[in-house]
Symmetry: C2
Subunit: 95 residues, 2 copies
DNA sequence: TCGGTAAATTGCGATACTGCGATATAGTCG
DNA sequence: CGACTATATCGCAGTATCGCAATTTACCGA
């Protein structure tokens, strides 16, 4: 269960929580609710450099917690609710 | 929420899971069900050195996930079910 | 094709974690 | 007290993580 490692960083945990409400981010070309939130907006709210934001999302993605959809030059991230739901289910077993 | 950091290590996560069934450990002076499991038994099952086992339990203890009761020369560790239950409750908020 | 933007990747110093042996502390029993 | 056991702490080397600037890759519009 390497998921906890991805959740261990407070900023990554916060990002995952922010993505529950994609509409709270600034407007963007694609609808945040369906396709996800643009990296730039995540970076801005997390107040980290572009490379750090990209790496944070890569870790969350490798853990399966988010998915990435690239449209044009933008990467949109959204929660993988299926994986998170199964994580919640297996939480009792592991913890 | 530094708890996830404590759960990030696979062995620590396993130990916490093992402590759900304290009776599965070898017999000891004190009843495992009520007071907890002796460090020696945890160390043996985790197959790590004494110092590593002690440090693992210190991390879990600092995170509030387990409590330690010292009786004589033995340290008995048991799950802090209250904290774990509230963790489970706040899991939905954070994740 | 060129200049600009978005994002991923690379390389780096700093810091933290890992696991262990060695040592220190604390308790037990004669 | 002295030998022994159990546990905690210290110090260390190896490894991983952190966060960034710089670079590279990818896409767009003119």
């Amino acid at each position: 269960m390497g998921v906890f490692k991805a959740l261990a960083h407070p900023t990554r945990l916060a990002i995952l929580s922010w993505l529950k409400d994609p509409e709270s981010f600034p407007p963007q070309d694609q609808p945040a609710a369906s396709v996800g939130v643009c990296l730039k907006h995540i970076q801005a709210r997390a107040d980290v450099s572009q490379s750090t934001a990209s790496q944070f999302m890569a870790v969350l993605q490798r853990a399966g917690l988010v998915t990435c959809t690239r449209i044009g030059q933008w990467s949109y991230y959204r929660r993988n609710e299926e994986v998170i739901a199964s994580l919640r289910a297996s939480f009792d077993l592991a913890v």
